[in-house]
Symmetry: C2
């Protein structure tokens, strides 16, 4: 096992009716700004629950943080927050609203342009405290310090890290009105978060392996039930818990990490606006195929423990395991090939060009170069 | 899944050489008291590592916190801490030293007798910040807010809860000199911590089930390797991580808990001084036998997933599963019957008398009364 340091101070408030706890958790004298996405929380009743929980409090609202939150939008939110001397932020929405709010929190006290903070998070100083009501389980942002921000002008999408939410409220009922495609992308995103921390070198930590496999197996078991009935409280609660536990550091203690699938997926989103979880479903099976020699022992363990693949030669089992992974994504209703998304060869060229230009070397061994990325993307054309 | 609130702010610093990080983690201007057990840290080099890490700092030392820390000892430590106006505590030792230090931390600012805080932790006000270097993985105290304190005068042993360590340093090499009996008791303690949070009602949370089973399976897999070579760094690291993850709230989200085995075990320790983990190895298999109807579905799942018991009728599988549990404890070199520890019928009478007098009702359904406890203890005579 590798040496590690772990700390995660987020207070999770989980379950039916938990939005009502908001008033108790936000300091009474806060100058509060609430941030939202496009308005679905007005249709599904979440907005009304938040307003009811904060009855008698004053707050301002910022609407319009889009999926893959754009720096252009967040600059406006930062200006509004400064104008009103905001000292507490509450994100109400999915991972994009929260990710955007993480940048607003760091950007309000920062004197330069906030995109500088995305490019270099060491520039982040004081941060306005923030919390969230999470309506779409997927990114794990509710229990980590990371965020991913896009730049329309430069067609770039980058992750940065600073501080954790003070608290996160997770009510599985808030997910009942999600469109099936968003649920599918969220399940894929969670699945791949776990794979990024698990599918590397065998034998580093038997406990972390079991915990990662525990999330993967749970997702495989509950996905068809959720597809059948997205109003099944217990299954949506299971999914929400998996999403949060998938990227909060709990399964990353003492083990190496990969993240190449995410980095390649981010480029597809930056260039085409493709939904994040959908990009991962395309890239992961291809990456596993290209990297199967390096990841072979772990692929065999994953096939055995997650999909029950135990018969045949190593080569056959690995091949069946990668196919089972792709089939899992297809069972969610997602595409697993670039052509299904209308993405062609010129995008592959552009991503390889960017990686070469930046000197990008991805994966747990830092050996996924631009040329390896080309092989991966050719594989999922 | 049940509603829940989760928060655990402890900073874990894990791995070889991590004691050297002490100076960075303890505020430089602290009036520091370091607390110790009986002196084994002087033999195994841990004391020297701590002193080296804090070179140039002033601190006072309190020695002699015993296994099952006694209120009588802790009163002396509190007096010493007050005398020196101590404002940071560092426990160096196993769970008992840390548990005792948790009471010292709450007792220094408290005006009354500290035993009152054990009996009613709502009386705890300000707490001196504390941290630890853990040398014996078992209690999980390094990542939770609980502690168990004994009272020699009244032959009582009770748990209380207040605040978390600021940080916990876990270096698996610190365990290399532990006697085999202490390692065995630590593994049993960890195993039963997990069982208390897992072996209740089936179907509450598939993810928490997988995580609990992940710890149990890891313990079953590594125990014989540790018995063979207690200087195997990776296996001791696995064990240390299991111990910490077994009682830090990570596997308790949204699920009911039992804790009857611990409560009955505490009485055996209070009356006979029996090592904690050893009492649990005696009580758990008997409790599973007596409560097998209520816990039947979960026992079948546990037998399947932890011990691979899948053949035969439900009754047969449950019986074999409980036997496998007892055999696991025996494989550690522990006793599983009261007579092996020289404990007889009069102790059973006394425990039942105490439970009846206190109106004790234990277990996830609150139905383990004095009389049910008698049946459990008769079963492991």
């Amino acid at each position: 096992m590798n040496n590690f340091t772990f700390q995660n101070p987020v207070k999770l408030i989980f379950g039916k009716g938990s939005i009502a706890r908001l008033a108790r958790e936000i300091p009474a004298d806060s100058r509060l700004m609430i941030t939202f996405g496009g308005g679905s929380v007005k249709q599904n009743g979440i907005y009304d629950q938040v307003v009811a929980a904060l009855a008698g409090r004053e707050f301002i609202e910022f609407w319009g943080i889009e999926p893959n939150p754009k720096i252009e939008t967040l600059r406006k939110a930062i200006a509004l927050g400064r104008e009103h001397k905001v000292d507490f932020l509450l994100a109400v929405g999915g991972g994009s609203v929260l990710d955007g709010t993480k940048l607003i929190a760091a950007g309000i006290p920062y004197e330069g342009d906030p995109w500088e903070l995305v490019l270099d998070d060491r520039k982040i100083g004081r941060v306005v405290p923030f919390a969230d009501v999470m309506t779409l389980p997927a990114t794990g942002s509710e229990m980590n310090a990371g965020a991913v921000i896009s730049n329309l002008a430069t067609q770039e999408k980058f992750a940065f890290h600073h501080s954790f939410p003070r608290f996160s409220i997770l009510d599985p009922e808030a997910t009942f009105s999600l469109p099936p495609f968003q649920i599918a992308c969220g399940i894929a995103d969670t699945f791949v978060h776990v794979m990024e921390q698990y599918m590397t070198v065998a034998g580093c930590s038997p406990l972390m392996d079991r915990w990662a496999e525990g999330i993967l197996r749970t997702l495989v078991e509950i996905a068809p039930k959720i597809r059948e009935n997205p109003h099944d409280y217990d299954r949506m609660a299971d999914y929400m818990l998996c999403a949060t536990m998938g990227l909060n550091g709990f399964i990353a203690m003492g083990v190496p990490q990969d993240w190449a699938t995410h980095m390649i997926g981010h480029e597809l989103t930056a260039l085409h606006g493709t939904t994040h979880g959908q990009t991962l479903a395309v890239v992961l099976p291809a990456l596993l195929t290209v990297m199967q020699e390096q990841k072979g022992e772990k692929l065999l363990q994953y096939g055995d423990r997650v999909f029950g693949i135990r018969e045949g030669s190593s080569e056959e089992r690995i091949e069946r395991t990668i196919r089972a992974t792709e089939e899992f994504f297809r069972s969610l209703g997602l595409a697993t090939r670039l052509h299904e998304l209308g993405i062609g060869a010129e995008t592959i060229d552009e991503i390889v060009r960017r990686f070469d230009e930046r000197g990008t070397r991805l994966g747990e061994q830092g050996n996924i170069t631009g040329e390896v990325t080309r092989r991966i993307l050719e594989r999922c054309k």
